[in-house]
């Protein structure tokens, strides 16, 4: 009838790993940003799944907050990407190594 919550958790874990791999592997900053969105949503799925299992609304409330913040974060992130692009005509993560002396 209903899908057991383990499936959701497994999906959430899968998405998380995908996101992590994306963040580490991709060179384009925009792709890295997308991957972080993926990880946020993995967390959202986990929240909803446990919420369903424990019959508690708090998880869903969190999900709304996370969605809102993710939207804001995406806006700021894209703004930063624009700024970086204007500065360097390039958005390759491998070449952003100013933090290292």
């Amino acid at each position: 009838m209903s899908i057991p919550y383990e499936y959701y958790v497994a999906l959430s874990g899968l998405l998380m790993v995908l996101g992590l791999v994306g963040v580490t592997v991709r060179k384009n900053i925009i792709a890295v940003l997308l991957s972080t969105e993926l990880m946020l949503n993995a967390v959202n799925i986990a929240f909803v799944a446990f919420d369903m299992k424990l019959h508690d609304v708090a998880g869903q409330v969190f999900v709304f907050f996370i969605l809102t913040i993710a939207a804001a974060e995406a806006a700021i992130g894209l703004g930063l990407v624009m700024a970086i692009y204007r500065l360097r005509k390039d958005v390759d993560v491998e070449k952003l190594t100013e933090l290292k002396l």
Binding site: L20, V23, T24, V32, V93, E94, L96, T97, K100
Partner: protein
């Protein structure tokens, strides 16, 4: 007896006044006068106290104030006034007064004139703290204080390298003795639980033989250093680098006698240990003889007298080791007078001939300085032990008593007496008589010293003549302090112990009355032998250095090995240099290489190197690439999560 507190504090006040206002306000004559007044006041008070105590024979223990509480025991600053400390205090203050007066003339024109008198006053204060102490801590305070004053005064002309080196040597050699002394004080405190002499004396019967022996030997170690006995004697001849009044006051009359005084002061402790008394006896005898042989061939006028000081201090210790504490103290008093006299006369000579120390370059000084020559002759006769001068009445009884107790000691002391007579008259003939060897340029300036130098000489010479006749008075005077049967502060049990320790001298009967002693020693074979030994020494010196019948150079060549042994002072300085100076240098070099270069530098540099190489490894992780940081972060999170998961 409350007025006694003036005695130590009047020189202290003089010291404070001179050191505060000396250079700006008092300047040259006044600061000397302030010092003389300071010490003269304490001399007057101590003579008055001496008179009072000679009437009653009592003892007074005044606690002035508590210095520091130490558990159940309070260390106090106090005055123990009994015949022994009264005698020593009088010797110190009276001799000091005359030496201070002499010094006002001797130091004339010195740019550091006020500093000199400040130091001298400080010395007298410290010395009085030492003599008046009623406990070992105050004694030690004075003991160190006189060491400090001695250091400052030996190095008074600090721009002379030899003087500053000699000052350091005196200080360091004394430190060896003081270290033993301090150990002795600590052991005494652990054993007795108190450091007041009178309480210690009454607890002696409860303590084991070996503990008492250890305490006595450790304390005697301090006396060996302070009184410059063999093997810690090397500093005293070099201490003659200081101004001559300092040599007279500190290194002849008073400070070096502190060891003798200390042994007499805690006589019951020494008397209850056979081993301790024997050590005192043999160290004293050895010093008396060896120092006399060293004095034979020296050419420095002050060093010759310094060696005679060593030798005479040896006689005092020998007397104490023989159990004749009263004779030892009497010799101390008479020695203080005639030795101060000899030094001051030498100082008067040095001022006249512009500080040439070599006796081979003097001669016929008697013509130019009759008073100095006459007073020096009196001092020399007293030192040689010729009747009726004071040295005869104080030194001969020791030698005669040694004959009846221990023949080895007697032989050494007896031959030492002959040597003493020889070297002091060698000095007299070379300096004041004999040929004319003075530099003609200097000779035109030589003249007798001013009255403030000659009057102390005359007073001390009078003392050296008459003091011996008061032998009986001094013996009776010291009895309440040094004769166990009459010591009021000893308990009955302690008296028995002390009497037992002093049995070695019980069969000795030296006539105490001066006249009878004089008659006795001029009639008995032993007395005549000693007298003729001294006269023989003088006659030898007369033949060799006045008539030149026997050529000293020929003598030196004939007995070359002995001459070299004496001239090089039995190689003590060389051996000490080889062992301590050179050994310390070698040790320092080894420590520098092994400890400093290898160990310390190794640790410091090594920790630096380890940090550097760790840093080199760790910096590999800082790539600058965001993805790498992220990967590290993920690994970190995973590690902590799994720890959290599996360990909780």
């Amino acid at each position: 007896m409350e007025y006694l507190w003036v005695i130590p504090f009047s020189p202290l006040i003089a010291f404070i006044i001179i050191s505060l206002f000396g250079y700006k306000l008092l300047k040259e004559p006044l600061s000397g006068i302030v010092a003389v007044i300071g010490v003269a006041i304490s001399a007057v008070f101590s003579v008055y106290g001496f008179y009072q105590v000679s009437q009653t024979g009592d003892y007074y223990d005044l606690k002035l104030f508590t210095w520091m509480p130490l558990g159940d025991y309070n260390i106090s600053v106090s005055i123990l006034w009994d015949p022994l400390s009264a005698l020593m205090t009088c010797v110190v203050t009276v001799v000091s007064t005359f030496i201070f007066i002499f010094a006002t003339g001797y130091m004339k024109g010195d740019p550091s004139y006020p500093r000199f008198f400040a130091y001298l006053s400080l010395f007298v204060f410290m010395m009085l703290m030492l003599t008046l102490a009623d406990n070992l801590v105050q004694l030690f305070f004075g003991w160190e204080g006189v060491g400090l004053a001695s250091y400052l005064l030996i190095g008074f002309w600090h721009y002379k390298k030899s003087a500053s080196v000699a000052a350091l040597e005196a200080f360091i050699v004394n430190r060896v003795g003081d270290w033993l002394f301090l150990l002795g004080v600590l052991l005494a405190f652990i054993t007795f639980g108190t450091l007041d002499y009178l309480d210690i004396f009454n607890k002696i019967p409860e303590v084991g033989f070996w503990t008492i022996t250890a305490i006595a030997l450790l304390l005697f170690g301090g006396a060996v250093g302070k009184s410059a006995q063999i093997p810690l004697h090397i500093w005293l001849p070099n201490a003659m680098e200081g101004p001559t009044p300092v040599s007279a006051l500190i290194h002849a009359a008073t400070m070096v006698a502190a060891g003798v005084y200390m042994v007499a002061r805690i006589m019951p402790v020494f008397a209850s240990s056979e081993i301790a008394l024997d050590t005192v006896l043999y160290i004293g005898t050895m010093s008396a003889f060896i120092a006399a042989t060293m004095g034979l061939v020296q050419n420095d006028i002050k060093r010759i007298i310094a060696y005679s000081t060593l030798s005479q201090l040896g006689y005092m210790f020998a007397a104490e080791g023989l159990g004749l504490f009263k004779d030892g103290m009497f010799h101390l008093a008479s020695h203080a007078v005639f030795k101060a006299l000899l030094f001051l006369a030498a100082g008067s000579v040095l001022v006249a001939i512009h500080h040439i120390l070599d006796v081979q370059k003097m001669g016929q000084l008697r013509k130019y300085m009759p008073i100095t020559a006459a007073t020096f002759l009196v001092g020399a006769l007293a030192l040689a032990g010729i009747p009726p001068f004071s040295g005869f009445f104080s030194k001969d009884p020791i030698i005669e008593a040694a004959y009846e107790i221990n023949w080895v000691v007697w032989v050494l002391l007896w031959s030492g007496a002959g040597l003493t007579a020889f070297y002091i008259f060698r000095l007299y003939f070379l300096a004041f008589e004999n040929g004319d060897r003075l530099d003609p340029h200097i000779k035109s300036h030589v003249h007798e010293s001013p009255p403030n130098m000659t009057i102390p000489l005359i007073v001390l010479a009078t003392g050296a003549i008459v003091l011996g006749f008061f032998r009986e008075f001094f013996m009776n005077f010291l009895r309440p302090s040094l004769d166990p049967s009459q010591m009021k502060f000893l308990s009955e049990e302690t008296k028995i112990v002390v009497e037992e320790g002093l049995t070695r001298a019980h069969h000795v009967h030296i006539v105490e009355d001066a006249w009878h002693f004089l008659v006795h020693s001029l009639t008995s074979p032993l007395g005549l032998l000693i007298l003729f030994t001294a006269l023989g020494g003088i006659f030898m010196a007369f033949l060799m250095y006045q008539l030149r019948v026997i050529d000293p150079v020929w003598m030196a060549n004939t007995f070359r090995p002995i001459y070299l042994l004496f001239y090089n002072r039995w190689y003590f300085d060389h051996i000490y240099y080889a062992i301590f100076a050179y050994g310390y240098y070698k040790l320092s070099k080894f420590m520098w290489k092994a400890g400093d270069r290898f160990l310390i530098d190794g640790i410091v540099n090594g920790s630096g190197k380890v940090s550097m190489s760790f840093g080199d490894i760790l910096r590999l992780t800082q790539t600058g690439r965001i993805s790498a940081y992220l990967a590290q972060m993920v690994v970190g999170i995973l590690v902590f999560l799994s720890l959290f998961l599996f360990l909780s």
